[in-house]
Symmetry: C2
């Protein structure tokens, strides 16, 4: 089983959605990513929490097989995010962000971290992403996420980082803002010129797009009749995507592998949003993932024939 190194936030969230509310629940990009990716690969997490971080969260992550050697406990409070989702659940309104111990996070990489074959740099300061990446000795595959805050405030650092990244994950608003292109297809083409050989644009309930091998591929989201909490959808997407890629070995993925990774990403994101916080991902096992993957393939499949005037 291959390995994935993830660096990013571990948080305590206060989330309000039309389906309910979760206060001081486990969250953070590194957590959502790890809980999704661990279904396919060994995950090593590089992150920081405060001394208030509940023991049971740490135990749960360990129980799920996630390597927490790089989860540092610093004096102070854990990163906290408070947000609310409106009726359509497509985007969160951030009500409060307290970086707390995350603001002085300087990841210390162990030898195991430094030899990671696959690296996911979750959304955080691109300078910090760079600092971590530059310590990894010879990664075969590097992916990163970002957000509008860094696009606006640290564009040069972000562009420099992208020159060393293979796969860029971002949402459609971010893709448009970073590229300056109002069209997703053009945005993805432009972003590829900056380094990444693949660009993944996440569109929430509207699905996702992949730019790879000179083409743009589009995928619908797995249709759900009920969504309880969209928090972490993007990170669990990336976790499913990168974890599945890791499971097939560390070699450079071809377009067909990337397309399958898009589906695994969608499947993990779809499970994640069905429950508050990490509840759904915690309960998930690989057979359930494969069941939904097969069902998703069935939804997408077209039994094609010729124009022969007969029903199919």
């Amino acid at each position: 089983m291959s390995e994935v190194l993830v660096v990013g936030s571990v948080a305590l969230d206060w989330v309000k959605t039309p389906a309910g509310e979760g206060k001081d629940v486990l969250g953070g990009a590194a957590v959502y990513f790890s809980l999704a990716a661990r279904l396919f690969a060994r995950v090593r997490m590089l992150a920081v929490v405060g001394s208030d971080f509940p023991r049971e969260h740490r135990s749960m992550l360990e129980t799920k097989g996630i390597d927490l050697e790089g989860l540092e406990t610093a004096r102070g409070k854990t990163f906290r995010w408070r947000g609310a989702y409106a009726k359509d659940m497509n985007s969160a309104k951030t009500l409060q962000t307290d970086l707390n111990v995350f603001s002085s996070f300087r990841p210390k990489l162990s030898p195991a971290h430094k030899s990671a074959p696959i690296v996911f740099l979750a959304n955080m300061d691109p300078e910090l992403q760079w600092e971590v990446l530059s310590q990894v000795e010879n990664p075969a595959l590097v992916a990163c996420d970002t957000m509008n805050y860094w696009i606006d405030s640290k564009r040069p650092a972000l562009k420099e980082l992208l020159s060393r990244v293979d796969i860029l994950f971002l949402n459609d608003e971010e893709a448009k803002s970073l590229s300056g292109e109002p069209n997703n297809v053009k945005a993805a083409m432009r972003l590829r010129e900056w380094g990444p050989s693949a660009v993944v644009i996440k569109k929430g309930e509207h699905g996702s797009m992949l730019m790879a091998g000179e083409r743009v591929y589009a995928f619908p989201a797995y249709p759900l009749a009920e969504i309880k909490d969209p928090t972490g959808a993007g990170d669990s997407f990336a976790g499913g995507f990168m974890g599945w890629l890791a499971s097939r070995g560390a070699g450079a993925p071809g377009v067909q592998a990337l397309k399958r990774a898009m589906l695994y990403g969608s499947v993990l994101a779809s499970y994640n949003v069905q429950e508050f916080s990490t509840k759904s991902l915690e309960a998930l096992d690989l057979p359930a993932v494969q069941r939904r993957y097969k069902d998703y393939l069935d939804l997408l499949s077209i039994e094609d024939g010729v124009l022969d005037g007969r029903a199919v």
Copy 2:
């Protein structure tokens, strides 16, 4: 070759998009539908224009093989719509609507119209849609479109119409408004209870959804790097969808046929938005449609395997 009867508007549009402007250009739901559907089936159009309707538009439609026996010329002006699209091109802002001769439109059906096997009731007053439908003797397949104006002002008439409709086309905002459900999947399930065996939700650049046979199927839009004019996208989608269904005979379509119809709808809509007004649809031929359909299938196809740790 099977036949489709369409009733709806023929218009002269004044459209502004970020890509340019078209003044007094040919438009209207029945026109877009017909120009898409005629690639697959014989189309009979039931509509009205004013005495100002340019002769060349009528000639063009005739040249494309569309039967205009039911295209009445009334004293007065042709229906005019003026609208503008913002940067993301996802929804038009209506600046002006002059119904003109369309306001007193009372379609007169000939014997050929009355024996139509397949009927598309384009967006218009649901009472008028009902009036037309009740004159068709024994249609094998009936589809309709609608809009928020009728959902708000003539809900009971619309619900009554739906009890006699097989396939309902509407956009996601309309689906949510008509059903009262904020989720597309639930909206489609609810709308099916009112009569239609299939519900098609159009989401513009975000693709489309099909509820049929107890399941919801989602499709991405065909990815385009440039869109010039989204006007008529929904009607050319319906035209491609219904036209292709007609080409395979008038029998009740199964789920697999409906899924293929969704792709043909998407292909026709994708061509339509690449040029202003009806320019793209006018120039289109079946080989070009089939080329893009094959390409679309290729974009969607997943070469599946097992989790064997090898690249695919």
